[in-house]
């Protein structure tokens, strides 16, 4: 049983989107903590 091209594409694109989302989430959390003065 071999991984098809469409499944590989789905796996890689989903992983890329998830990875691209991470820095955005981190920056939004930072903005919120900075506003609430709760970084440390």
């Amino acid at each position: 049983m071999y991984l098809s091209e469409s499944l590989l594409t789905l796996l890689v694109i989903t992983a890329c989107l998830g990875t691209a989302l991470a820095p955005i989430i981190l920056l939004l959390l930072y903005k919120r903590d900075l506003k609430d003065k709760s970084l440390w």
Partner: protein, 476 residues
């Protein structure tokens, strides 16, 4: 070796520039550290943004940027998916972080927990496991620094390895955990942006379809969903990742350092955000076949593909991304291991009455000592990164169940916890040599579970959770 290799002068300039930046940043963040709590646990009040970033960045390491591509190159699709399963360590540690903070609000190290919960014998075995793992990880990170520079520039292995060590020791020494966490935040953003850009260039210039065709034609086993060794690797890696996180003071010190209520959310969010990263870095390595890259050693495949795709400017870019990934883990490990040695070694055996100021001084000296020991051990390049880390898998996976039962079940006694860690490690090491690296962690975990269950059935104890509260002066 590489078409777009950096000159020695440019590589040194980047290293010196980054080194000065991080060390000055570390000094700035650590200038108000007055007590051992400030230095080693960042004041125990870290918020969600920094907490999430540091869990992610610490777990994005040489493993993710060098070993995940190596495993995709060797084991194909299961290599990269298997590596991403290490995220389960962070995800499952989320409720444990909350439990740790609630049981030991003034706790300091994972060693404290084991000693109070199980007694001295279990503590002894646990410290051997912890220190062996910490040194293995530090050595693998130092070696990765050397490999990175050797593959991306004209500098040699030893220069790269020593440079990354000196920089990390420098800012950890000056800023303590606060510097480690703040630099982790910046490094996490740099690493994630870099990985996405490299993957996008790979998809845009080579194409997923072309990569699939190349792999299917030249090495179809890499796409085989029933590749036996790769499936065993997947299960092994789940237990290895869980063992690494559950036992290591790198993660326990974060559980103590994060503000009350933050630990669970931070580890859960960090784990979910980390999950897709090894798939992306692993996929990039599959392009090696299409691009005609034959790496001199398998752990260099990721940087070589990225540098080929991005050209000479890209080599600088790749250099910064992998350097950040290595530094974000090495600084955490230096800080957490020095805490462990200070509290469980110096304070316990040498100077039990040491005050905060004295512990602070000793902690800093231990950071320097660890840097020197790591440098000396890295001088001979003794093993590939994956082999070195998987050897440690037998040790760490044997600690999973004693930690879990220790936190949640009052019935497991010190005698059986000690046996679980010792016999689990022996089983894992035996199978590592007899069968292969991909069964070490899994078998160690199974044997450890059998010992714990035997203890609960044959001689259950009745641990009083209030014992932790009574020992809450462990950091004082």
């Amino acid at each position: 070796m590489l078409e777009a290799q950096l000159s020695a002068e440019l590589a040194l300039a980047i290293l010196v520039g980054f080194g000065i930046l991080w060390i000055v940043f570390g000094w700035y963040l650590g200038r108000n550290n007055r007590s051992i709590d400030d230095y080693a646990l960042a004041g125990r009040n870290v918020g969600l943004a920094f907490a999430t970033a540091t869990t992610m960045a610490t777990w994005i390491t040489s493993n993710t940027t060098l070993v995940a591509p190596q495993l995709a190159y060797q084991f194909g699709v299961w290599g990269m998916v298997g590596y991403s399963m290490a995220a389960w360590g962070l995800i499952l540690f989320a409720p444990m972080a909350q439990r740790i903070k609630s049981l030991m609000p003034h706790g300091f190290t994972s060693g404290d927990f084991i000693r109070i919960r199980y007694g001295n014998h279990a503590w002894g075995v646990f410290m051997i496991i912890s220190l062996l793992y910490a040194i293995s990880w530090l050595v693998s990170l130092g070696m990765a620094g050397g490999i990175l520079l050797a593959s991306l520039s004209e500098l040699d292995y030893h220069t790269g390895m020593l440079a990354i060590l000196i920089i990390c020791v420098g800012y950890t020494l000056l800023g303590g955990l606060k510097a480690v966490i703040a630099t982790d935040f910046v490094q996490a953003i740099l690493i994630l942006a870099g990985i996405v850009i490299i993957a996008w260039v790979c998809i845009d210039t080579v194409g997923i379809g072309t990569i699939h065709q190349s792999v299917a034609a030249s090495q179809p086993e890499l796409l085989n969903l029933a590749f036996p060794a790769a499936i065993m690797f997947l299960f092994n890696n789940i237990f290895f990742g869980i063992g690494e996180i559950f036992h290591s003071n790198v993660w326990w010190s974060r559980a103590f350092a994060f503000r009350t209520g933050v630990g669970k959310k931070a580890f859960l969010t960090g784990g979910l955000l980390w999950l897709p990263i090894p798939i992306v870095t692993g996929f990039v390595a599959l392009a090696a076949l299409t691009l005609g890259i034959l790496p001199p050693s398998a752990d260099m495949v990721g940087p070589l593909v990225a540098a080929k795709l991005l050209g000479s400017v890209g080599a600088v870019f790749v250099f910064i991304v992998v350097f950040s990934a290595l530094a974000s883990s090495m600084d955490s490990l230096l800080a957490a291991t020095s805490d462990l040695i200070t509290q469980d070694g110096y304070k316990r055996f040498i100077n039990p009455t040491a005050d905060s100021e004295r512990l602070l001084k000793i902690n800093k000296r231990i950071v320097i000592g660890l840097g020197v020991i790591t440098g000396l051990l890295c001088l001979p390049k003794i093993a590939t990164l994956a082999a070195l880390l998987n050897f440690a898998g037998a040790f760490v996976a044997s600690a999973i169940w004693p930690i879990v039962f220790g936190l949640y079940h009052p019935g497991l006694t010190g005698r059986f916890a000690t046996a679980a860690m010792a016999l689990g490690t022996l089983t894992g090491l035996t199978l590592y040599f007899v069968v292969g690296f991909y069964v070490a962690a899994f078998s160690a975990c199974l044997m450890s579970l059998a010992c714990c269950l035997a203890g609960l059935l044959l001689a259950p104890g009745e641990f009083n959770w209030q014992t932790f509260k009574a020992s809450q002066n462990v950091s004082e």
